[in-house]
Symmetry: C2
Subunit: 409 residues, 2 copies
């Protein structure tokens, strides 16, 4: 990345500085989009080549036993568990975040058959809301998806709520819900608490067990750096296992998958969340990517994240006219990203990307920057704001080619 | 593979002989399990390295547009379409076979709300039956999963049947249903026809459109050689698109996925079958693997498949006492595999694998051999039977270590 030639006083004593070498980042890029697609860990290509040539190519079908593919969903799940505060045996990796949401929302609703309200907020990522709508319509039992503004969730929890379904960190603003407080409130009202950790896992400390969360899901390809479309994960608190059952009753969730019985007998543990065969190449990339976290103290990572975000806010607000902070100013209620409003946000982000500063645009007017302490430095932050300020000063964003929208924005 | 040193008269004039070089197969192995996990196409490692280093590593988030990841589900779907007789725009790749079964069974049942019977057979692969049971229980509307013996399906189709849900080729015996005849019978009774092509796609000509099939699903990691756990595919006949809707309403199936609206608006075409983000590394391996089929005439492939299977049956029946044919003797009602009963089938298969002949065991007593004309020759067939005959003559299967079951059998 360009800024490797520069230095910043806040980078002195950075305990995570050596982690940057664990990633293959292209020259000339400051990557502030690890919250959308994490970059390539440097050791992953060799690992995948091993999986392809040695495990698939040479062991062929025998690889399922010989190379531990059978236990991969659990092994990855337990490793993610360490990052999100879940004791072993409560997480499996596999499927997409959307599919996993369907599993746990179904399971959660079945635990509260007399209640009909799914409470969520307008800051939830749309696919979670869509999946809930799909399940609601499929069930056809009068469920209601009740949406409130994020700041109104606490007040909206009452004894009509079956499931409180929230994404902890707002994908647009980075606003962060208080998992412990809201889970307690949900439980006090007799509701189930379901958390989406898409922008949490690998970004800061999450304490699923300590917060007494009931169900959770999360993404493998953002802060966990598992590769494009990496499989997601699903958490079921041990007290619900064997009781709460998900309806996607595939063979890998059977008590005896290879007995080939005609009737489904649900596995009693977290394995019931498994469905079909998972994509091993993508699973292996996710598993390897987790190596980077092995010796990372999440408290140290979080402290650096806060420092990077606060520096970015200070720099932008002092040098970049026209951008209005969209993220909470208080780090305590913010994830690991900073967003600003800008009327021509799409064009601005295209202009930034053309200069090597990669962030995201989110409709209608948000430019979003993810700060990932494993490979972003304070010097990167300053270098990015240098470019941003220059683009604004020269109105470089005001070009036709920056305003033509691509398919994925 | 060992038999490359030998020859067989039936291999003379084999138009597919050159295809063998398109695969990296280990020395000393005769691979008769491509119906469980297809082997590694030789060009896939380089392609995946390119996807990892260049597309993910260098383009990062920009790869979604720059390298066509956005259209990958459709692109792969259309290429599979050519192999299964589906015109473009009716197939997308993604998710697992189990998940895809859930989608199309839900959609199909919704087309026949007044009917309550899902008709299937006891030769269906268990996960299809499990998923149907999961959906039945979730819907809680009195649906019945009615199972009959495979040969009784035709007679069991009546006007109580909402959906006839069949796997075309029996995973144990290779017995093949007549797709055209049964689909016609289903339609005559007002039922929907749903086909699982797990052991069909890439194995022989399938004519989904010509058979007027309604829905279909299939597997990427068997005859298509897409790699371990490769994403599956789903077919919806054009006449049902925009009408039949699946309930896993993820953002990629939204009419405008990147508008981030709060309400789900289903895509009108095959895209509604998409759910979450698909695992790009595994998707790319599947896409590359399909290159091998590009110049393959499926009629030529089928003719060789029949020849290989018939040779195997002749050789086994003339030289291998104790094995009883489990597959249909008539090639017209058989897929691309041959199975035999053997009381100690598990141990026999372990003994075969130890000698480099890799097939499968399926409970209770079936040894199963897949014949994949792209990389198996008649010489391989004879060499495999040589080893099988020797193992039987010497009772080499009768060892303790061959009787200890692994997790995946």
């Amino acid at each position: 990345m360009t800024s490797q030639l520069t230095t910043h006083p806040l980078d002195a004593g950075d305990k995570l500085a050596a982690k940057r070498a664990a990633f293959d980042l292209p020259e000339g890029v400051i990557y502030l989009d690890g919250n959308s697609l994490g970059p390539l860990p440097a050791h992953v290509p060799a690992r995948i080549e091993e999986v392809i040539r040695k495990e698939w190519g040479t062991s062929l079908i025998r690889a399922w036993n010989a190379h531990g593919w059978v236990e991969m969903q659990n092994r990855i799940g337990d490793r993610i568990g360490r990052l999100v505060g879940a004791a072993p045996g409560q997480i499996v990796a596999g499927d997409s975040t959307s599919i996993n949401l369907f599993k746990v929302l179904s399971a959660a609703l079945a635990l509260r058959p007399e209640r009909k309200v799914i409470l969520s907020d307008t800051g939830n990522f749309p696919t979670d809301l869509y999946m809930a709508q799909g399940l609601r319509d499929l069930l056809d039992k009068g469920h209601e998806l009740r949406l409130v503004a994020p700041e109104e969730v606490a007040g909206a929890i009452d004894d009509s709520v079956a499931v409180m379904m929230l994404t902890q960190v707002d994908y647009r603003t980075g606003r962060r819900h208080d998992m412990k407080d809201l889970t307690q409130r949900a439980h006090a009202a007799g509701a189930i608490a379901l958390w989406d950790l898409a922008h949490s896992a690998g970004a800061f400390q999450v304490e699923l067990d300590a917060c007494v969360a009931d169900f959770a899901i999360g993404c493998g390809y953002k802060y966990l750096n598992g590769g494009p479309g990496a499989p997601a994960f699903v958490y079921v608190a041990r007290r619900h296992q064997g009781v709460a059952r998900q309806p996607l009753a595939g063979w890998h969730g059977h008590e005896a998958p290879f007995a080939f019985e005609l009737d489904y007998r649900p596995a009693q543990g977290i394995d019931q969340m498994k469905v079909g065969t998972t994509p091993i190449l993508s699973m292996a990339a996710l598993e390897a990517a987790l190596d980077v976290f092995d010796d990372v103290d999440m408290a140290v990572l979080r402290a650096k994240s806060v420092s990077l975000c606060e520096l970015f806010i200070r720099e932008v607000e002092s040098r970049c006219e026209g951008l209005v902070l969209a993220s909470p100013r208080d780090a305590a209620v913010r994830g690991s990203q900073v967003s600003f409003h800008f009327p021509e946000g799409y064009a601005l982000m295209q202009a930034l990307i053309a200069r090597g500063v990669i962030g995201d645009f989110r409709a209608p007017d948000i430019v979003r920057f993810g700060f990932t302490p494993l490979y972003v430095s304070h010097a990167d932050v300053v270098a990015a704001v240098d470019i941003l300020a220059d683009i604004l000063a020269t109105r470089a964003w005001d070009r036709h080619e920056y305003k033509t929208r691509a398919k994925v924005t």
